[in-house]
């Protein structure tokens, strides 16, 4: 008997099994199979998809993770197609006319129904015909517990035919790996030996990847990331410029445009609108204080994982430290971490940024996993 939480239907998970000897298959026939790699992010989600047995990527999309439910009383014609639910950019564009709901918070599902609506929308993006079998590898935060995973499965029930949940740091390493260079003498394969620092919205995850699937000991999740920096920056701005009226959204924009770590850079003058009037404010120290806190939080986790690597592997490992996620866009974060390691005596450390494609690496890794997963590794969700 499946034991279900009191207020929702049970989801039974069965491993995908080979057909019975009689050849009877319980699932309805689908016209084709589409494989999906899915990074379900708190702010933005990335979905890549392609037909099974094909290496082409037919769909590649980054979508703001937000759903807009059209408010009552909106006049016909205001919303394109008189849609009742909008997603992603459409929802944000029409924010005055919709109730915006973010299905995720801190990387995990916060609103089940909205998450399901969002996944249904992404399914239509991947398979407009609605006739394909959809198999999705979904990245989950390194610290996602059983409840968080079950929430994803509940939301995926009836949307995807098969799912596989894999921690994001490993998927990032898989996605970052240049498959064409694997085996070349000078190529440091991130799946074989690397440290990934994924600075997201709710958490910063540090993961040691050394040729086997990372264990609990190989992953450290720090509850300080983009949102926490925004909070600190907001507090600092309110302290330095009282009654500034700047929203959290505006503060985040300031961080994304001017955020940096390291010694204070002054003057850093920025024009903002306060109370309808333009003001020029100096942000150098304010931003430095907020962003440098991130380095203080991440660095101990980084050195902890370095000490877990074997002496045979650690010298190469130190050459392959990769920063990804939105936090990788903070100016100087690679140089500051590298300098700290060098100053502390680590042998020739090299910290790299994942680059402009950082938003896609988890989804790329997820699609690679989808293409490689064996039949019996996929999970069938039964409601």
């Amino acid at each position: 008997m499946t034991i279900a939480p009191p207020d929702r239907l049970p989801v039974t998970i069965a491993p995908n099994s080979a057909p019975s000897p009689t050849g009877i298959r319980p699932t309805p026939a689908k016209s084709k199979t589409i494989l999906v790699g899915f990074d379900l992010g708190t702010n933005k989600s990335c979905v890549l998809a392609g037909a099974a047995g094909n290496t082409d990527i037919a769909v590649s999309k980054v979508v703001p993770t937000v759903v807009g439910y059209v408010k009552d009383g909106i006049v016909d014609g205001i919303i394109a197609g008189n849609a009742q639910i909008l997603y992603g950019e459409d929802a944000l564009r029409n924010m005055l006319h919709v109730r915006l709901v973010a299905p995720l918070a801190a990387g995990v599902i916060a609103d089940q129904d909205t998450a399901r609506d969002f996944l249904r929308y992404l399914r239509t993006v991947v398979d407009p015909s609605g006739t394909a079998e959809i198999r999705a590898v979904i990245g989950v935060p390194a610290n996602a517990g059983p409840q968080a995973r079950d929430d994803i499965r509940h939301s995926a029930l009836g949307v995807f035919d098969r799912v596989l949940l894999i921690p994001e740091p490993f998927l990032a390493a898989l996605g970052y790996r240049e498959d064409a260079r694997v085996g070349q003498p000078n190529y440091l394969d991130p799946v074989v030996n690397s440290l990934f620092i994924d600075i997201g919205v709710g958490t910063s995850d540090v993961c040691l990847v050394q040729g086997y699937f990372p264990t609990r000991e190989d992953q450290i999740s720090i509850p300080f990331a983009g949102d926490a920096i925004d909070e600190l920056l907001h507090e600092e701005l309110n302290r330095v410029y009282p009654n500034n009226g700047l929203s959290r959204h505006k503060v985040r924009e300031l961080k994304e445009a001017h955020g940096y770590v390291g010694p204070s850079r002054k003057p850093l003058e920025v024009k903002v609108i306060m109370g309808g009037k333009a003001h020029t404010i100096e942000l150098g120290d304010t931003i430095a204080r907020a962003c440098n806190t991130l380095v203080e939080k991440i660095y101990p986790a980084l050195t902890t994982l370095i000490t877990r690597a074997s002496s045979d592997s650690v010298v190469s490992l130190l050459q392959n430290i990769i920063v990804t996620g939105g936090g990788s866009q903070l100016k100087g974060i690679d140089a500051v971490l590298q300098k700290k390691l060098a100053d502390d005596g680590y042998e020739n450390p090299k910290v790299k940024l994942a680059g402009v494609d950082y938003k896609r690496y988890v989804a790329v890794g997820a699609l690679k996993a989808a293409r490689s997963a064996r039949e019996n590794q996929w999970q069938v969700l039964l409601g």
Partner: protein, 104 residues
Amino acid sequence: MIAALRTPADTEASLAQRLESIFAAETERVATAVVIAELLAPMLRPMSFSSAAPLSPAHAATRIVASNAPFTHPGRSGAADIADFIDEMIAQENAIDGPHRRAS
């Protein structure tokens, strides 16, 4: 039983044919029942709601995770494909949550 099935009009050939079709229908019926049982068996087995699937361990403490070290990695010497990594993930999660949590 076979004698009971025989009708006055039956020849050996027609009786054999009818028996064959009865056996084929029963075989199909049993096979269908087996499939249904395979699907339903997990529901009949006591397991928690969050069972069955591979689950990564809960990092409930949001500070630096303490090491429990229940799983030792296999120390792969050669190249592995991605499916092998997924197998390791499933094995880790079974080691932590127990194999009874998987539907099978």
